[in-house]
Subunit: 81 residues, 2 copies
DNA sequence: ATTATTTATACCCTAATAGGTATAATTTCA
DNA sequence: TGAAATTATACCTATTAGGGTATAAATAAT
């Protein structure tokens, strides 16, 4: 079972943006329409999530999931499987 | 039911990169370890997919899913729900 | 220190993804 | 042309994500 990774790009992005707006996890889940539990799994870096749920949250920040060159944080995490 | 969108950033990326390397869908599924049917759903823009499966394919191209500002193609598609 | 708020973990249930396979449509190439 | 290869669609099943909720831990505020 792949390990969770709080430092993956998606988790980091959501946590930062949410805090920038001084929102609680509950408020974010409420305004975006996803479950509170999902916001938590998202921010804590659960390995396997559904893209449209993530995009449902990202849309609130004017963002969406797209392919990008692998980040250092991810590269580091790849070794630890 | 959300409509499929062949022009979403992920589908476009995979199709282009695969063709650049002159690989068939079967070869891509075989080398990345995901199902052939998944590669097809991916390239044809199925709305809801699992992130780790997508990343399993993107890794082959040195990429991963990250949040990015919404593209025009996506913005156009948003209106059509 | 105490309380209130926020975040994290655990459990059950339903719905939907991904896989496999078979078949049809489309494209490629001799 | 016609055959082979590639891509697309359809059906069935097992696995698992996501929702809800309850509880525990951690953080913030007074």
């Amino acid at each position: 079972m792949k390990t969770w990774n709080r430092n993956n790009p998606i988790a980091q992005f959501i946590r930062k943006r949410r805090k920038d707006l001084n929102l609680t996890q509950f408020e974010l889940s409420d305004t975006t329409g996803v479950g509170l539990r999902f916001v938590r799994e998202l921010e804590q870096g659960k390995p396997n999530l559904m893209t449209d749920k993530i995009n449902q949250v990202l849309l609130f920040f004017g963002h969406e999931l797209t392919p990008n060159p692998i980040s250092d944080a991810t590269r580091r995490n790849l070794g630890e499987q």
